[in-house]
């Protein structure tokens, strides 16, 4: 891989009063033990937009994403410094109730991870734990979220079926339905299409474009076509730094940084 000058950056600032910011990080560092994986990333994410995080393997994009709702807390030896601003609060502070915060910042993972429960229970389980017990509300929630995730028509007659019996693509869409059942503000997706076939991927992308109406979405993807198709903004990560952040069409047509240009044109990755 070519050596790039990592001080050569272009990060679009969105906090100019014209954009509504849903989430922002300020000088975010993440380290695993002695090794620092993210070297101070500051990005603003606009509300009701899809932001794609792209970059080669090991660029830190997933690590960065996972720190946004503090999923890295569970990996021992991980240290996160810097600020994650959400609604005027620093998510990365000790005073934050992580469990409460994660209701607002949901996540869908690379591997579909439905619970070993029925389709219905997969969606209603967490809302029930958080105190929602009206059957009518839960029934409606199941229908709405499955429709939003583009899965309703395939499973509506068999909601008691085990989620484990679904195909990979269906499981992933169920996981999205499960995540949006919590009515989060922000949805983080960590390479959600990496295990899906092209048809499931296309359905998933349609789903994301519809979800954008109500959710702020941040998606990590390896697939540059996917980033180009679904996202409004794209951040390019390289060796633990965000080197370029701009509107997606600019990133893919007129990147300002050499590393971004080489990456999106397939010179490394």
């Amino acid at each position: 891989m070519e050596k790039y000058d990592r001080s050569d950056r272009y990060l679009k600032q969105l906090d100019d009063g014209q954009h509504e910011i849903a989430l922002a990080t300020k000088d975010l560092h993440v380290s695993y033990g002695e090794k620092e994986a993210i070297h101070g990333v500051s990005l603003d994410f606009e509300r009701f937009k899809i932001t794609a995080l792209i970059g080669a393997s090991g660029s830190g994009k997933s690590t960065y994403l996972r720190s946004l709702n503090r999923m890295n807390d569970n990996i021992s030896g991980t240290k996160v410094t810097g600020q994650i601003m959400y609604r005027g609060l620093d998510v990365n502070s000790n005073q934050i109730d992580v469990y409460e915060m994660r209701k607002h910042i949901g996540m869908v993972f690379q591997q579909p991870n439905p619970f070993a429960k029925s389709i219905y229970d997969n969606i209603t389980f967490a809302p029930k734990r958080h105190g929602e017990h009206h059957k009518k509300v839960l029934d409606e929630m199941v229908e709405t979220t499955l429709k939003q995730a583009g899965l309703w028509d395939q499973v509506k007659d068999d909601l008691k079926q085990s989620a484990l019996a679904l195909s990979g693509g269906q499981q992933q869409r169920l996981c999205i339905a499960r995540a949006i059942a919590m009515k989060p503000d922000i949805l983080l997706l960590d390479e959600p299409a990496s295990v899906l076939d092209p048809i499931s991927t296309a359905t998933l992308e349609d789903t994301l474009l519809q979800l954008k109406e109500n959710y702020t979405i941040i998606i990590v993807t390896h697939n540059m076509q996917q980033a180009a198709r679904v996202s409004d903004y794209t951040a390019f990560f390289h060796l633990g730094d965000a080197l370029e952040y701009d509107e997606t069409r600019k990133i893919f047509t007129r990147p300002k940084i050499k590393a971004t240009e080489d990456y999106v044109s397939g010179h490394f990755g």
């Binding site: 209701k103 029925s118 484990l164």
Partner: protein, 298 residues
């Protein structure tokens, strides 16, 4: 020889080893059942044993075995679940927890006669429980706990970490995730461990000879008050179990039909262990289906 041929040879050898093991097991099982079942009558199963004359039954011993099993599982299941959940989900990885794991490993390979003598010293003598069901149940707990804990921990560890992340990402606490996501997924494995543990306990003799004792007081099956001295449920009475009975009539029995009683008792013992296995497997699958909403276990 070509790799293909090697593969054939290896397959054949492995196949023969499997057949051999199955044959040995089947032979043992059939031998015990065929030589024992002809002696099994309703009177034999329910009747009292006799000390000198022929024609004694094993009713009391069977009851003792079942009661002791239930009591020891009542003690060891909650403890092993707690310890297993702690080790798998909460314990930090450091020298102390490694030491605990090592000690559990060593404990689980302790010979049962050593456990029995330990139980005799600690529970019967020091704690003044004497030869009693409680001493026996505690000794069986010592005998069984390491294995159950290990099995619980392994079953929980086998649940993929992405399941835990799924719970956390939905704003669930660690405890909620463990109890409602991880434990249900691990339940079939945990249950298998419990069944094997129950089978071990049911067939155990050496750990009980010096703890639960080798005889039972005359029992009054009309009084079920556990504090009454002749009550079958009294945990402080001594109790000879089926396995101990088999050992005793074979080693020092003076009844003329010792071999027949021993054969019959062995057949009953085996049948009960088989029954536990099948029943628990059935209920385990049912439970799993109930918890997962799955129609078939796939």
């Amino acid at each position: 020889m070509s790799p293909r041929k090697w593969d054939k040879v290896a397959t054949t050898v492995l196949y023969m080893i499997s057949v051999f093991i199955i044959a040995v097991l089947a032979f043992l099982l059939l031998y015990i059942l065929i030589s024992g079942l002809p002696h099994v009558t309703w009177h034999f199963i329910t009747g009292r044993s006799s000390s000198f004359a022929a024609g004694g039954g094993i009713g009391i011993q069977l009851f003792n075995s079942l009661y002791l099993l239930i009591l020891s599982m009542l003690i060891s299941i909650p403890l092993s679940l707690g310890a297993g959940i702690y080790l798998s989900e909460y314990a930090p990885k450091n020298w102390l927890t490694d030491l605990i794991r090592n000690m559990i490993e060593i404990l689980s390979s302790l010979p049962s006669v050593v456990v029995g003598l330990f139980g005799f010293l600690v529970f019967s003598i020091n704690m003044k429980l004497g030869f009693s069901i409680l001493s026996g149940a505690l000794a069986l707990t010592v005998f069984n706990l390491p294995l159950l804990t290990r099995k619980v921990e392994d079953s929980l560890q086998a649940v993929h970490y992405t399941q835990r992340e799924a719970g956390y990402a939905l704003g669930l606490s660690r405890w909620e995730t463990v109890i409602h996501v991880v434990v249900p997924s691990a339940l079939p494995g945990i249950l298998t461990g419990m069944i094997l543990g129950a089978g071990r306990v049911f067939g155990e003799a050496a750990a009980l000879i010096y703890t639960a004792g080798q005889s039972s007081p005359p029992l009054d099956f009309t009084n079920w008050n556990p504090t009454y001295i002749a009550s079958p449920l009294n945990p402080l009475r001594s109790a000879e179990t089926l396995a101990v009975h088999i050992w005793k009539i074979n080693s020092e029995g003076i009844i003329p039909d010792a071999s027949a009683v021993s054969a019959g008792a062995s057949a009953i013992l085996i049948l009960f262990v088989l029954l536990f296995n099948f029943a628990a497997r059935y209920f385990g699958n049912k439970l799993y289906r109930h918890l997962t909403g799955a129609r078939e276990r796939g």
